[in-house]
Amino acid sequence: MTLKDLDKGQVTRRRVLAASGIGLGAAVLSPMPLRYALAQSKPYRIGSEQPLTGVAALGGKTALVGLQMAVDRINKAGGILGRAVELIVADDESKPDSGRRKVEKLVTEDNIDAHVGGYLSNICLACVPVFTENQVVNMISVCLDTTLTTSKCNKYTFRPYDFAPSQAKAFAPHLVNKMGKRWFIAYADYSWGQSTRDAYANEIKGNGGSVVGTLGIPLGTADMTPFLSKISGDFDGLFLIFFGPDSINFVNQGTDLGLRKKYKWAGDGAVAVASQLPALGDKIEGFVGVDRYVPVFDPPLDTPYLHAFYDEAVERLKKAGLENAAPDRYVQSNFEAMNALKLGIEKSKFQGRADSEKLIAALEGLEMKESADFPTGDKLLRKEDHQAFVRETIFEMREGKYHLLDTIPWQKSEVPPACTFA
């Protein structure tokens, strides 16, 4: 049946049905290469649940910048296995119920092939069952709740960046040996803050220090004074586990109450991520933190990969309305999580959700080498718990800038697996 046939008026319903039948039969019975070629026209549908509104909107926006940057680079280079990547983003509104609803839609209506995303730990925890029930590989990209890869680990869930126990193992020797023996921990009172508190308390004690007290502050508390007024006593350092507006509130109000003058301040890198430095002003001066990525180029971080990542991310952040913002760990981990998924897809020849088992096998034990795709360095995605270990960076804030104090290779941040897959 050609265009000429059409001109001659020889197209009948019977001929069309016959031709269609032959075509369909050929497609079903044809060998793999042809089917593979047919599938090539269909992009990989990658879902991403991110907090684009609500308390975590800032982090969600920067996270999306990193993810989009990875997807654009992949598509520009010809896609994965010749197929483009289509990103389908859902706003979880920083709420677990909304997050779960949006993820259910991504999985059941949008038919995503895999997922890269998740920012707030309570939302990640709420969504894990959805991915498991539907057998969708879930590359979380920001959530730091420890249990995601320990007591609540799951064969479909991967964390291709660090978590609190490994950060604590890398940072605790510095805290105890160089800053002080006695610590007080203040934390965001929800899953991430609680599990991070436990990890640091263990490591500080394990390194010969002590934790004299802890204080949980609920997420989104605007006036923290009643909480901060209770922080008193004889200790050397105040360890902070906060992110976003909560870290801004703590640093501002804690400084106003003189806590910065009395104690040394250290904490999770989320307290001083680049995107919120303008709101912290000079009150973050002297803070010592640990992070998987900080925008600093002191050796050994003066690599062409980190420079290229930084330059492109800055441009993209500017276009996203984040003027003068340097990339933070949320940009970085989303960028690298998407690239880790790409590596797994290539290795397993993953074609769609039916191949999830093959993708899981490829991701287990995945080694990522320092490159343009993984600018923060080599890392390993461990088979036993789907947890990655990465180089940790210890920094100090001076004159509004990050100053590198130390880097800890990923091998020294490794902790034993504590996961049993169901």
Binding site: L58, G220, D223, T225, P226, N252, L322
Partner: protein, 294 residues
């Protein structure tokens, strides 16, 4: 007398000051809310967003002028103007209808304003610098003078507003409209203008509280949320529409929470305000600080 020794007097004094300072900020937010409800019967769910807009206007003004006090005035006037515009375009056509329609309308305005701020200013929190630094030593704490000033200034704004209501021509019109809108109109009071003015004043008070509280927190699109929930509790406990009731309820609830946090976690102390709210609704629905209707 053994128990007297068990009382942590230093913490008690600190928490008293904390309670009064927080109570005065809350009173400033709540008095705008109660004013709008008392006169217009509108439960304004967008009130927190006016607080946020006030803070953003202050950020822009400070960038241009480096003057906190000018920013406070401009932000109050600016949010007042925006409040009047919102009233005229959105709420005026709905007055007199089922209260649910105005609740839904203000909820919609709240979402629009919040997302507008996110789009216009981005998600990065901005900073309002304190107009002055300095602190006094209060036992183990250095208590910021600015926090004390917020309490004083909030009291001054509320006091000034009370005088305006008591003695100003517009204040008398507002009180007359509160008592009987139809009679006020019959007496020649320009009720539509009074209503627009009330919404503007309520919004301006929210804007002013956003500026005053701004230096203690980052200014972002969601900053009004935490305050608005507590302000609603204060308005209900104080008696909806009662300015004095709101001020007393704000201080009462803040002090209760502050004292409770001496013995329990401050997070658990926050539950106290909800308990007070439920008890008020059950046993004195007109509010704790207004006379019982005869």
């Amino acid at each position: 007398m053994q128990w007297l020794h068990a009382v942590p007097w230093d913490l008690l004094l600190i928490q008293t000051i904390n309670g009064i300072v927080t109570g005065m900020i809350l009173a400033l937010v709540a008095s705008g809310l109660t004013l709008i409800f008392g006169i217009m019967d509108v439960v304004n769910f967008a009130h927190g967003e006016f607080l946020m807009l006030g803070a953003y206007i202050a950020v822009l003004t400070i960038v241009a002028t480096h003057n906190f006090w000018l920013a406070l005035i401009i932000a109050s006037l600016g949010t007042g103007l925006i409040g009047a515009l919102v009233y005229v375009t959105t709420l005026r056509p709905l007055l007199g209808r089922d209260p649910l329609t105005t609740i839904l309308a203000t909820f919609g305005v709240s979402l629009v304003l919040q997302n507008y701020a996110l789009w216009q200013f981005g998600p990065v929190a901005r900073k309002i610098p304190e107009p002055f630094s300095g602190s006094i030593t209060l036992f183990h704490l250095d208590y910021s003078l600015y926090r004390l000033m917020i309490a004083g200034l909030s009291a001054a704004i509320i006091g000034g507003f009370w005088l305006f209501l008591k003695f100003g021509t517009w204040g008398i019109w507002i009180r007359a409209t509160t008592q009987d809108r139809i009679m006020a109109q019959a007496m020649g009071i320009p009720v539509p203008w009074v209503l627009a003015g009330v919404f503007a004043i309520g919004s301006a008070m929210a804007g002013a509280s956003g500026v005053l509280f701004g230096p203690l927190v980052g200014v972002d699109h969601a900053m009004g949320f935490d305050w608005i929930l507590r302000a609603f509790i204060v308005v209900v406990v104080g008696g909806m529409g009662s300015l004095g009731g709101s001020v007393l309820a704000a201080i009462f609830i803040s002090l209760l929470e502050a004292y409770s946090s001496l013995w329990v976690s401050p997070a658990q102390a926050g539950i106290i305000s909800f308990v007070v709210l439920i008890l008020t609704l059950l046993f004195r629905p007109t509010g704790l600080f207004v006379a019982t209707p005869k």
